[in-house]
Symmetry: C2
Subunit: 255 residues, 2 copies
DNA sequence: CGTATCCTTGATGCCTCTCAAGACGGGTGG
DNA sequence: CCACCCGTCTTGAGAGGCATCAAGGATACG
């Protein structure tokens, strides 16, 4: 199974129909990316060492904890994961939500310890990518390094955007930004971008956005009153993306 | 000059007396680190291509802007720099302050464009590190890649801590965290850690911490009343580090 | 069908922002 | 060398956005 995936030929970067987007071969699946860049350059059998285990985590299970010795990076095939950091007195800050096709845990490669914790939001299937031989492999596969840098670079950009959001935006702008970004990422991974089911609770969203759970509810209600979105529990339909985007940018207010 | 620096032999990581800590050779200077890891492995003359220009920026001058094509990374020799990101409607979020011995602009290597802007807070001398030949060099210098990953990894950790601060901490905890962290970094670079001069304004600090300038002033005043610190304009003396640290952790309150 | 979890809405209070004004200090030009 | 000026810092008063506390309703799961 692993070998089959790894030896898959690089394909064009054109849009893939959703049906053809099997989790591990998805054009924007992290693992695929990691493999794509090295394909054809070296003996691909080496890559069997990279993608080893598949595993499923149940809702609430930890993929890794802060400070835990590095085991592997994780490419999500199905489900979703939240990552968070902690204060010494127990407060939690959710730092990100991760959907199929995304990779997490990469920056622990250098530190040898995870610097945040990751918890499955629902039943989640991942590829674990043990990188114990990372240093040697990197010597042979220059493209691998580039991919690593790219993924970490993206994370830095995301974190900077979050700092901007947490430091400068109002509640409505934060929620609008959240929906717009989630929508964009779903689209990038070939999934419906205007109607989807949230895998995280209002409480998680609030924690992520630096808001109280109740504030999240109230803002969502306001959005519904203005027909920006409609919701039913965790099912969300984005009605007016343009106005949402304007709100997210701060270039409009919800009059 | 450049060659001399580059060909410098690796030295022990023991503490260096402050006097011996010339900016570019400082044990924790970013450039030194970049060079250290590659020293002795390859033809060092290659490294002349890495560290090319020295340049001085005046207070308020931009090192680079958001979206500008990648020119170089910057190792600060003397002075200080702030980095910030912008909302579309012009709001600014300061994402970091950088002191001598630290490197910035690295993650633009992959994107080919800077993802934040950097501005000198005072007269600042930097080494510009043009990485146009980065990809080739990385092939020959595996240690270089590792250093890049380490620096980016540190930035991710810092950003995560900032998200925690911006999302969950109160004004007093934020200021305490700011002073403790700055002190730690100054110490790491062999400078006085309990008495120093801030290069940034109250307004910059407030922006960085997600607070209004006035709130920064008021909290500092409160700290002085409790004898945690003493200040005179931008000169700061940390009087009770233990209590500051307790505040920063959230495991104490300013009664 | 009961129970736990999640979501929603209301009332109240507080932390921090905003607006305002004055003090202080450093730099500059006469 | 002094006086002026402007940026920065400080403190006060008031307002507001969001957190907190509280309670009821909806949904999923065993």
């Amino acid at each position: 199974m692993t070998a089959a995936v790894v030896r898959r030929k690089p394909v064009s970067r054109a849009n893939t129909p959703e049906g053809a987007c099997a989790p591990i071969a998805c054009k924007d699946c992290g693992i695929y990316h990691l493999c794509l860049t090295v394909g054809g350059e070296v003996d691909l059998s080496q890559l069997d060492l990279l993608v080893k285990n598949r595993r499923t985590y149940k809702r609430g299970e930890l993929l890794y904890r802060i400070g835990e010795p590095y085991r592997a990076a994780f490419a999500i095939r199905l489900g979703s994961v939240k990552t968070s950091v902690l204060t010494d007195d127990g407060r939690v800050q959710v730092t990100g939500f991760h959907i199929p096709g995304e990779v997490l845990g990469l920056n622990a490669i250098i530190d040898d310890r995870y610097n945040c914790e990751a918890r499955a939001l629902e039943t989640t299937s991942v590829c674990e990518v043990p990188f114990e031989r990372y240093e040697e492999l990197a010597l042979q596969l220059p493209g691998l390094q580039r991919q690593m840098l790219r993924i970490m670079s993206q994370e830095i950009v995301h974190n900077q955007e979050m700092m901007l959001l947490l430091g400068k935006k109002k509640a409505e702008e934060r929620l609008a930004t959240f929906f717009v970004n989630l929508s964009r990422r779903l689209e990038r991974h070939g999934r419906p971008a205007l109607e989807f089911k949230l895998s995280m609770s209002r409480s998680d969203i609030g924690n992520y956005l630096g808001l109280a759970e109740e504030t999240v509810c109230r803002v969502i209600t306001r959005f519904e009153e203005k027909a920006l979105i409609s919701t039913e529990r965790r099912l969300v339909r984005l009605g007016q993306m343009d106005r949402l985007q304007a709100l997210a940018r701060g270039s409009a207010v919800l009059e």
